[in-house]
Structures are given as C-alpha cells and as structure tokens.
C-alpha cells in the first residue's frame, strides 16, 4: 500500500508536463516511500500518462531505484578499486556475519538494515569505506564494524 498518497500527488503535480522529469519524480517518490512498489509505479503511470513499461524500464536501469522494501538504515559498502585492494571483501563479510545475512539476502529480518554494494563512494584515500545512511566511515578494519553498527538502531 502507498503510505503517502497525498505527498505523492504533490510530487506528481510538481513535475507533471515538464521535460525529462521522470527520474527526479521517481527519486522524490522513492524518498517518501523508501522503495517503488508495482502499485506506486502503476499509480504514477495513471496520473502522468507515462507508459508503465517506460517507468519500469527506468526504475530497473538505475541502481538507485529499489523495488523491494528497505531496512531502516542503508549500509553501502564501497567496492571501488582502492577499497578492493585494501580489503573491502573482508569488511563485507564481517557485516554479513554481524547482521546474520545469508546468501543473497540484503535486508535483515528485523528490518533494521539493508546492505548494498556500491561502485565507488569517492573516499578512496580512507579505504576501505562504508556509508551508513549519509554518514561515511573510513579506514575500516573488520574489528571496527560491530561498534559502528551499534550506533544505528
């Protein structure tokens, strides 16, 4: 169910009829809903007249758009070159162990965290780096992970 129908309507009205508005429109809707459900995309299509296939096409093309419900806190593990050569995989493994995420799972059962791997956060000089929500943590070792995660509940 869409939780923020009124706000979504406002976003749609703000962008409606403007050139090239689909991506910022979806970005703002996602900011409200935390992800883009089929229902939400269908609703946007009805309201704007943009074909649902085009909306889905754009939503699946860009990695920032999420099609599943997300945890309360988003952990982005940097997989850039500098982080890779400085042991980003050990950091990733430690987070997975700490959050008890198996296999392909990316969201914890209690909905506290969603784990994502991202290309490069641009803080290469402090590699390896992770970003929790908007906060960047650098010069990491697996030992530092539990304490960082504790800060977010």
């Amino acid at each position: 169910m869409m939780k923020n129908k009124k706000e979504i309507d406002q976003v749609i009205n703000k962008f409606n009829g403007k050139n090239g508005a689909l991506i910022p429109l979806l970005q703002e809707v996602q900011a409200l809903e935390s992800y883009l459900s089929k229902e939400t995309m269908r609703y946007i299509s009805e309201k704007t007249g943009i074909k649902i296939a085009q909306i889905y096409g754009v939503a699946t093309f860009y990695t920032m758009f999420r099609l599943k419900p997300q945890g309360k806190h988003i952990i982005r593990v940097c997989q850039g070159t500098a982080c890779h050569v400085s042991g980003a995989n050990q950091i990733l493994k430690e987070i997975r162990d700490e959050l008890k995420l198996d296999g392909e799972e990316d969201t914890t059962k209690d909905g506290r965290f969603t784990l994502m791997e991202v290309a490069c956060l641009g803080c290469c000089s402090l590699a390896p780096v992770i970003m929790v929500n908007d906060e960047t943590h650098g010069k990491l070792t697996p030992e530092k992970i539990p304490n960082i995660l504790k800060k977010y509940d």
Partner: protein, 589 residues
C-alpha cells in the same frame, strides 16, 4: 592575538571525524572565551592525514596539523596561543617544518587553487579570491569568438579522459545554428578510484560554475545542466548553495551583469549508472530515459539534448577556464607539454603513503608523482604497478615508471589518462584479480545495447573467474585477446571500447602471473582464495580445538591437546581457522 582556525570538512575529512573536531573546537573557543575565527573549508588534498586543522595568524602565517583528534583540541589551541609551536603532526606550514611542505612545492595548483583554502559555501570568500572576475572580463571585453580563440590558444584538452581539444569543441557548438543551445557539465564521476571531481565540486563549486557560464556565453547557450552523481550528497549541497548565491549576485539569470546575455543553470542528480558518464547516455538520462548511448554522428554539437546543439565538458575542464581567461593562454602553456598543456589533477589511492588529491604539470614522470608528491609506498612491500584511468584504463608496471603523464605518452602504454584516478599497487596485489575486478565492474555496468559489450564482457569475465580459481587453460589467454579485439570493434561507446583495457594491459605486462595461476595453480600475491591452501603447523598447534569449533564445514579434526589436521578435500578456504588461531599455527600458502 587574533587568529583563524580552519577545519577541512569535505567528505574525506568528515569520514575521518572532522565533524566532531569542528564541534570540539567551537565548544572550546566558546567555553574559554577565546577570540578566534572558526571557519569551514573543504579538502586541500592531504586526505591521508585527515582530520586537518589549520591555524592562521594576522601575518598570514599558517600551520596545518593532521591526524587531529577531539581529545587534543585544548592542548593544540593552548600551545598555539602560547607560541609553543609543536612540529608533531605538522603537515603544512609556511613558518615551521611541515612533513608535506615539499610535496606541495612539487605541485602546481590551477584547478585546486581554492580547494581547502576558501569556504566553499561562501560566495564572498570566492569573490575575495578573484572569483567571477574572468566572467566580468569576458562579458565586458570579449566577443564569443574571442573566448573560443583564447581557449583554443591555451591548448586545453578535455579532462574527462579522451583529451579532445576544448576550444575546438566549443567552436563546433558555437557554429551550430539553432534557436536554443545547451551546455552541460559532466560530474558523473563513476570511475572507481577517482575522486577529483568530487573534491573540486565540494571545495570550489563557484569556479566550475564560472567556467560553465563563460562556456555558455562562448557557444551561445542560455541553459545549462550539471549532471552530478547522487553518491556525492555534499557536492550536490554545495552546488545548490553556489547556484543560489550566484543567482542572487546576478551572475546567473536574466541579463547577467547588465548585458544581453542570460543563463539558467540546473542540477540533475544521477541515479546510479556508470554508463551515464558517456555524453550521449548522459543526455538520455537528463531527458528522463534509460541512460543508453546513441549513435554518433550526429554529434552533440549538432544534435544533443532534446535535439538541440549541446556542449558537454568535464568538471575539471570547466575549472580551468577562469584561470586561463585571467592569466592568458600563453601563461597556461608555460605548464605542461607542447601537446598537453596545463596541469592535471590526480587522485592517489591504494598502497601509497600520501593518498589524496594532487595537481601536477602535464609531463611529470609517474615516478615523481608517486615517490616525490605521493611520498612513496605505504608499506615496505615493493611497488608493483599503478592503475590509471579506472575500468577504461590499464596497469602500468614498474619498468615504465619513467613514463610522463600526458595524453599521448600514457596511451602508448596501453593505459589511458582517464579522468585521473591513480591506484598504486604493491606485491600483495594480484594482477589477475585486478583485471577480474574491473571487468566484473564493466560487465555489470554495460547498458546492454551492443551485443559485444553485453555478452563479450560476460564471456571474458567467466574466463577470468576460471583462471583465478586455478581452472584456466593456456588457450584461454588467446581467447581473452580475441574477445577483447572484437569488443573494442563492436561497441558503440567508450564503455565497451575500453572495457578490455585492464585485461589487455595486465596480459601484456604481467603475463607470468596469469601463467602461475594456470600452470602452477598458485596465486603469487596470495589473493585468489580458491588457490590458497591452509595447513596446520604441528609444532605450533596446541590442540585447543578452537578452529575445529569455528570451521563451517567440519574440515578440521584432531584430539584435544594434540595437533589438528585440515582435510584439504573438505576445506572451502574461508580462512576462519587462520583468523581465530591464537598460536599462529595455521599457515596460509
């Protein structure tokens, strides 16, 4: 005495804890009623020593301390006030010894001239440092053609990677006939290992904007976009503030500085797609489509955004413009080489001591960049190679360290200058793994339009995976080269055309390492996990049983207080036993 304290609050500083340092200083000054001005700045490039705190007195004598922790704030301020200047952790100074004073002397800062010095959120700071003077000069004294001829004369080449002459690009867009033209700043810095554009946008956003306005005037555009990665929230914040302030001061908007020239500027946030760094894909993304490249010609200068003539330049290219206008093309040509004038910003990362941002004249040898400016290797392990140009670039071995940095010399090695990411690697880096890493990246980021790029990179990746698992064959190396050739030929945009570069350069310079993986089933650097072997040293094992308990596949057996053994058939090489052993008895080979 009155003095100023500046704290570097760019992304790198914040990640190292500069936010807390700033608040501690603020609190300390207030509680102790100390009269000092506390200012925010961005990144001076010495990211390895963050958080950085600079003290400046009224005689402009400056001391910058690095590795500052909140606990030492009081001591640091008091010793400064009592003139007991400590040289410990002093990074830069024009008064006392700073560990990086020489490092800075080896640089020439044109693009980064204000970074880490001014407050990026203050337009007044920028104006005091000569900001928007180039724009005023251009609007008062220059015809459109004059601007283009200055830029042509300067020899400035596009800093996004390809190195196309900027003046010529502007000329194409200027000559295109249309009622509407656009100018775009490509700030979709997607290369992993590169953070030049982020630092420039965070540290000196007005400089980029001024370059864009001058460019817009030259080609006759009245609207512009900055396409910035959404992964750079601080850069976007500073840009938004800068555009707002510049609009209020009349540098953006209708009839700029009371001339007929009008210009509007917008920010478009990317949504996470590496291919959008390619200019035609970027324009598709601004139009709200999937970011897939288009066939050229027509080139953007004829038919770009919404079919109108469009000029796209990179952040660093725009950041050079105002300096060139203010100082002249001849002065600019004093730096760099005949064919690659000016300077280049590099992001140093990896196994290098001084990781961070530097700007050196083109033509500087790689050896000098790494050892004199970058301070050499971080650990005692010897230098093995340097990766230039991200996923489109290549690895340059130590035999070629005397290569100078300019577009043509770097291209000869098989790497490319790229946007300026420089990742230094030592003996603990496996080059097959590095090639695998980059190909994995481009394979995931391929938009899927061209068959060779979409499927070819996938096949190459499968072969590389096989090699890193010790299951490769010597014929695989020929297949890799053949696939690479076809992907280069059969791809529409730069992503596919350059995707094989990391594989080709490592094959060229580090073939022995590929052979070791294939023929001897070993990874000389000890990185490829499938090729690792864990064994227990019976001399050191005390039989504490800890590893037995932690092993996820029950591969370790043995009686209490007797040496244990790992069953190699069962072992999945996860390394848990190696990590948990308290007696250093588990050996990795």
């Amino acid at each position: 005495m009155s003095f100023t304290i500046k704290v570097g609050l760019a992304s790198c500083g914040l990640a190292a804890g500069a936010g807390d340092v700033y608040h501690s200083i603020e609190k300390y000054l207030k509680e102790n009623k100390i009269k000092a001005e506390l200012k925010k700045t961005a990144c001076i490039g010495m990211c390895f020593a963050e958080p950085l705190v600079e003290f400046i007195n009224e005689h402009n004598e400056s001391i910058t301390y690095g590795y500052v922790e909140t606990e030492q704030i009081g001591d640091l301020i008091e010793s400064y006030r009592n003139d007991k200047l400590s040289t410990e952790n002093c990074i830069l100074s024009n008064k006392i010894d700073g560990s990086e004073n020489e490092n800075l002397k080896n640089q020439k800062r044109i693009v980064l001239r204000n970074c880490g010095i001014i407050d990026p959120e203050s337009i007044d700071d920028f104006l005091e440092n000569g900001g928007y003077q180039a724009l005023q000069k251009v609007l008062k004294e220059y015809k459109q053609e004059d601007v283009i001829s200055v830029i042509k004369a300067s020899g400035l080449r596009g800093r996004g990677g390809a190195g196309f002459p900027t003046g010529m690009k502007w000329d194409f867009a200027y000559k295109a006939q249309s009622d509407k033209k656009y100018i775009i700043c490509n700030a979709d810095e997607g290369d992993p290992g590169a953070f030049m554009d982020r630092s420039v946008l965070e540290g000196d956003p007005h400089n980029v904007i001024e370059g864009m306005i001058i460019g817009a005037y030259a080609i006759g555009a009245d609207e512009g976009y900055i396409y910035c990665r959404a992964e750079y929230p601080l850069a976007i914040k500073h840009l938004k503030k800068a555009i707002q302030d510049a609009t209020e001061k009349g540098f953006i908007g209708k009839n700029i500085l009371e001339t007929d020239f009008s210009f509007d500027l917008h920010i478009k946030e990317g949504a996470g797609a590496f291919v959008c760094g390619e200019e035609t894909a970027l324009m598709a993304s601004i139009e709200g489509e999937r970011g897939m490249p288009r066939i050229r010609p027509p080139f953007p200068a004829q038919s770009g955004l919404w079919g109108k003539p469009t000029n796209i330049n990179n952040v660093e290219t725009f950041a050079n413009i105002s300096w060139i206008i203010n100082n002249g093309a001849e002065e600019y040509r004093k730096y760099g080489t005949e064919k690659s004038p000016g300077t280049k910003v590099f992001a140093l990362a990896g196994k290098i001591k001084n990781s961070g941002l530097i700007e050196v004249p083109m033509g500087t040898p790689l050896r000098k960049v790494i050892y004199d400016v970058g301070g050499g290797m971080k650990t005692e392990k010897p230098f093995k190679g340097v990766q230039l140009g991200g996923p489109s670039g290549g690895c340059i071995p130590k035999e070629l360290l005397d290569t100078v940095v300019d577009y043509d010399s770097i291209n000869k090695t098989g790497a490319i200058m790229g946007s300026g990411g420089m990742v230094v690697m030592d003996e603990s880096t496996c080059m097959v793994d590095v090639a695998h890493f980059f190909l994995d990246f481009t394979q995931k980021e391929s938009c899927g339009k061209c068959t060779f790029c979409r499927i070819g990179t996938k096949r190459m990746l499968e072969i590389l995976t096989r090699i890193t698992e010790g299951k490769g064959k010597m014929e695989d190396l020929d297949t890799l080269e053949e696939l690479a050739k076809n992907i280069i030929k059969g791809s529409l945009c730069g992503l596919g055309q350059t995707a094989p570069n990391p594989v080709l350069t490592t094959l060229r310079y580090f073939k022995e390492e590929y052979k070791a993986h294939i023929l001897d089933h070993t990874c000389p650097a000890g990185v490829c996990t499938s090729l690792q072997k864990y064994e227990i040293d019976p001399e050191k094992c005390t039989g504490c049983t800890l590893c037995t308990k932690k092993c996820p596949v029950n591969a370790i057996s043995g009686n209490v207080r007797e040496p244990h053994v790992i069953d190699q058939e069962k072992c999945i090489k996860c390394g848990v036993c190696f990590d948990v052993c308290r007696f250093d008895a588990v050996k990795k080979s």
